[in-house]
Structure formats: C-alpha cells, structure tokens
Symmetry: C2
Subunit: 198 residues, 2 copies
Amino acid sequence: MLYTASFSKLIEVFQKMPGIGHKSAVRMAYYILSLSDSEAQEVVNAITNAKEKMHYCSVCQNLTETDPCDICSNHKRDKSVICVMEQPKDVIALEKTREYYGLYHVLHGSISPSDGISPEDLKIKELLQRIAGGEIKEVIMANSPSIEGEATAMYISRLLKPFGVKVTRIAYGLPVGGDLEYADQITLVKAIEGRHEI
Amino acid sequence: MLYTASFSKLIEVFQKMPGIGHKSAVRMAYYILSLSDSEAQEVVNAITNAKEKMHYCSVCQNLTETDPCDICSNHKRDKSVICVMEQPKDVIALEKTREYYGLYHVLHGSISPSDGISPEDLKIKELLQRIAGGEIKEVIMANSPSIEGEATAMYISRLLKPFGVKVTRIAYGLPVGGDLEYADQITLVKAIEGRHEI
C-alpha cells in the first residue's frame, strides 16, 4: 500500500466529490496535511457549520440560515409571483441577473420514474399550500428545459389549474437538454421575459 | 449577498484548495449539503484523522502513521542506499515503479532564497545524522530537475563529501523544469538507472 490508511481515507472522501478525480483528490489531501492545525480546524468547522445552520425555508424550501429566508421575508419582493425552481443553485442563477423581484419555490428535483423520484419526493405539496393562501397571481414554471423538467412543469401546472392562478413556463431561450445552472444571465432574462401561459 | 454566511465560508475553504476554482468550490459545497449527517461526519473525521495520525518519520522524514515508517522498518529494503526526495509525493511516484528497493530521505522542499527557504528549513541535518551512522554506502540525489532542485542537490552533495559516501544524481531522463511527481514510471526508472557520481 502506497498511502497510509488515514491518508487513503482522505483521498477517498475527496474523490467522491463532484468533478474531483484521483489526482485532484491526492493534491487536496496533501493540501490538508500542509495546513496548520488551526487552518485544518477552519475547514472542519466550515463543513460542520454549514451542515448545522443550513436548512430549508419553511415557505419557499430554498436553502437558508434564517426562517423564513431573506427572500421570503423581504418586503420589497413581489409577493404575487412565485418562480418554481428545481434546485437552490437555480435560484442563485436567477438572482444573479437582478431582473426578477418575485418569490421562489424550490422543488428539490424533477419527477423521474427511472430514478425513482415521484411527485411525493418533491416540495409540490408545500407549493399547493402557498397557492391556496390566495395571494399568488402567477406561478412561473422555471424547471430545467430537460424531459424531466418539462414533465414536472406540466404535472404541476395541471395541479394548479383548479386554483385559477396564471401559470407560465419560462421561455425556450435556454439550450434544450442543458443545465439551468450554467445558462448565461442574458439567456436567463430572455427566458423569463418570453414566458407564456400553459 | 447570494449565499448565506456559512455556505459562503464553505465555498471559501474549498476554493483555497489546489486546482479548485469558484464553480468547483460551489459544486463541492452543494455536495456537502446533500450528504446525510453521518456522511458529512465521515468527511470531517477523514480530515481530522489524517491531521492527527500523519506525522514525519523520525528517520526518513516521510509522512507516516507509524514510527519508523513502513519503508524504514522493512527488513527487505536495502539499508545501504538512501534516495533523497523533495516531497512525500515524490516517494510515492518512485515506489509506484517497484524498481527501487533502498531507503528514502524527504527534504520537504528545495533551497530557494527568493521564497525565503534556506538549508535550515529542510531536513538536511537529519540526513547528515543518518550518513554519520556509517551504514550508508550511496546517496542518490533525486531532487526535481529544476534550478532549485539542482542547486539543493549540489549543496547537499558538497556536505556529504567529507563522509566518503558515494553521492549520485538521478539521470536527466526527466523533462527539465518539469515536476517529478508527474513523470511517467519508465522515465523515472531510466533516470534511476542512469544516475552518475557527482
């Protein structure tokens, strides 16, 4: 065995991270060993703290440290519009454009029978409860332009019809099959502007 | 602020790691949040354990969990030859070739006045103590083929002359200016075979 047990384990946990191959994991492990004890403790604390403090907003289900989150509790936001997103990182992508002032709702995934993800696994019930509150005039379905995202948007839009709320779909300015997170900001704005009623 | 404080901090510590840019750090931070509490604890434990258990071998100064390390305490190794290396990862690179059966000595760097690294910052004193023990017949200087590595090899070879020990330099089969860690195994073996007396 070339590496010691504890060093191999460190490489192993890094290698499980997204986009990290063996060489990168080894470099990261050596980096950890090169840190002072207090610097290493800082890394450990950052992980522990984020895990402890971050949770889902009880309203929009986005990741937050406060409850309700900063967006839900911001009086300047338009409380009549909800933009439905797959992931917290999608919220970040749209917030970066500074062109959207409504609220959000994070589903935490898409319906995908092949991956065993059914509607009950997503935060759809929580969305319906918000709509039942009566304040919402429009729901923008900003699911990713993938087969699963499209199907999820259609599924939810059908559930929302009885509430008499306007349901729109983010426009196809996005590259089909792509990942919403990596869309450029102008494309995202165009897609929001070009939304149409389902 | 788009990210919460604890999440920003997590991104920050990942972004300090070698080869990790902002996008990778964000993905890694989301990955941490996606882990179960026990999985996140596994990451934390791996870091803490490696920091606690890994130290320098009192003989060869390589990273180890035991003391002396597995190589120094292996009776099958040739105790008359020491290969001097800059970094623990260089030892791994040579061990992977399975063609070298002697001992090692890790300097933990090269002499580099511009970076403020003087001979006293390296494990040179410890090397001289080993040579003074009298058992060593040959010291192979396997410093990287860089200006600093070459200078360090020459500096140490001059210190070793009074001991009457044979001092050799790993052959230039390695690409000059390159990083020893990334050399392919055949090149490394050729370089060991083609070593010459300084």
